[in-house]
Symmetry: none
């Protein structure tokens, strides 16, 4: 995992929670304790946070501007671009499924209002309600780290619906949380949702995503990939089954 990505994750956690434990960051980023410590030292030097025994704390001074996370963030822009394009595919009256995950969440501000959204992403709830978009939540187990609803019950609950379109994050939540291997149970939800949908779209803001994860999701059904960069090997390999839309600038 790249250094700036880790830093972004750390700052984001900090922004959300105020204080974070080192061990949590280790789990979150799949890095060693040493690496996290070095990150924290560095971020403290740059006045982004304050180290405390056991972890780090947000500094309340003034440097809390939105610029803070933004500054440390280089990956935000492509994500927004992709999300905006994906939203443009949604038409009034549609019933869509939104996968849990940060890239998909970015779609919400751009969605039309006269639609119905079904989701398993707890983090999507507030932004959707704020926009007054009618929303159904899948029932089931709430997975702490990714705020996704998963499990057997979730599948049952999901199968009550049918969708015009569904939107999935490639590494879904894992992009954001640093997993390289998709969670088995979340993958099952993804697959099921794709099966219940007339059209499926996969959003990826990672220029390099693991071939395995890619295949798992896209190979099973027809799907369109929306990304900002894609090596030609992948294009050749999957072109036959999937449409690939590369969104630039």
């Amino acid at each position: 995992m790249l250094t700036p990505e880790r830093h972004r994750l750390i700052l984001q956690q900090l922004k959300e929670k105020g204080v974070v434990k080192i061990q949590d960051l280790v789990d979150l980023t799949n890095s060693s304790e040493s690496t996290i410590r070095r990150d924290l030292t560095q971020l403290e030097d740059d006045k982004f946070l304050k180290r405390i025994h056991g972890g780090a704390a947000r500094l309340q001074g003034k440097l809390q501007e939105p610029s803070m996370v933004e500054k440390a963030t280089k990956n935000l822009q492509p994500k927004k671009r992709i999300a905006k394009y994906a939203s443009s595919l949604v038409e009034e009256g549609d019933c869509i499924f939104l996968d849990a995950g940060s890239t998909v969440m970015e779609m919400i501000p751009y969605l039309p209002k006269n639609i119905v959204v079904v989701t398993n992403g707890l983090m999507h709830v507030k932004p959707l309600l704020d926009r007054d978009i009618p929303m159904y939540l899948i029932g089931g187990y709430a997975k702490p780290k990714t705020n996704a609803i998963i499990g057997r019950g979730a599948l049952t609950s999901l199968e009550l619906y049918r969708f015009d379109k569904c939107f999935m994050g490639v590494n879904g939540i894992h992009t954001q949380f640093g997993y390289t291997t998709p969670d088995q149970e979340e993958a099952m939800i993804k697959q099921s949702a794709i099966a219940l949908s007339r059209e499926a779209f996969v959003l990826s803001d990672e220029s390099k995503f693991s071939e395995i994860a890619f295949a798992k999701i896209a190979d099973l059904h027809e799907a369109s990939i929306i990304t900002d960069e894609l090596s030609s090997e992948f294009q050749d390999q999957y072109m036959s089954k999937t449409t690939i839309k590369v969104v630039k600038e």
Copy 2:
């Protein structure tokens, strides 16, 4: 638990109540008395509070607006008291249902960790996850104003579970949002949950609640009412079917 997290809790308690007992802080933070004492010493050094025999007191130096704090405190206390008592009824290993609503939400900080929670309250999600309490969410329509999951799907989703105990707010969310008439669909969820539970508890922090709402919930099944004040007419009227626990001080 990280030191600043504990300090935050202490100061928060102090802000709400003006004075806090050490033992309460021990319970609240799951730390030892020694640790709390050390925290208090430190916070006093930093001029955040004044230590007094048995606990700590807010210092009235500057940042206090007595009128506002007092105002917010008046309705807060009974609610917390009731919620704390209700939490004490939950045993390790229990599977419980938590109704959507502000009074029930107050229970969360006091719940034991080795339980499973099922809820239809979206506002409960974050506090439960923060406490690492395993949580299942009912699926269905997310009602914007109350952040509750309701609807036909919710009933279906709910009926997959069985509970040891369930906890309902009387006017539920309506207390907070100023409704006097319970929402029909939310009432259905309440009734269904009570039916699926071995024991049912109704929490009320309103000394006067409407007879209609009361009867709707309590009359259908055996249930215990937990409240801080109850006119004797109600007691006489419902004593036969329900247990009433009045929590004072």
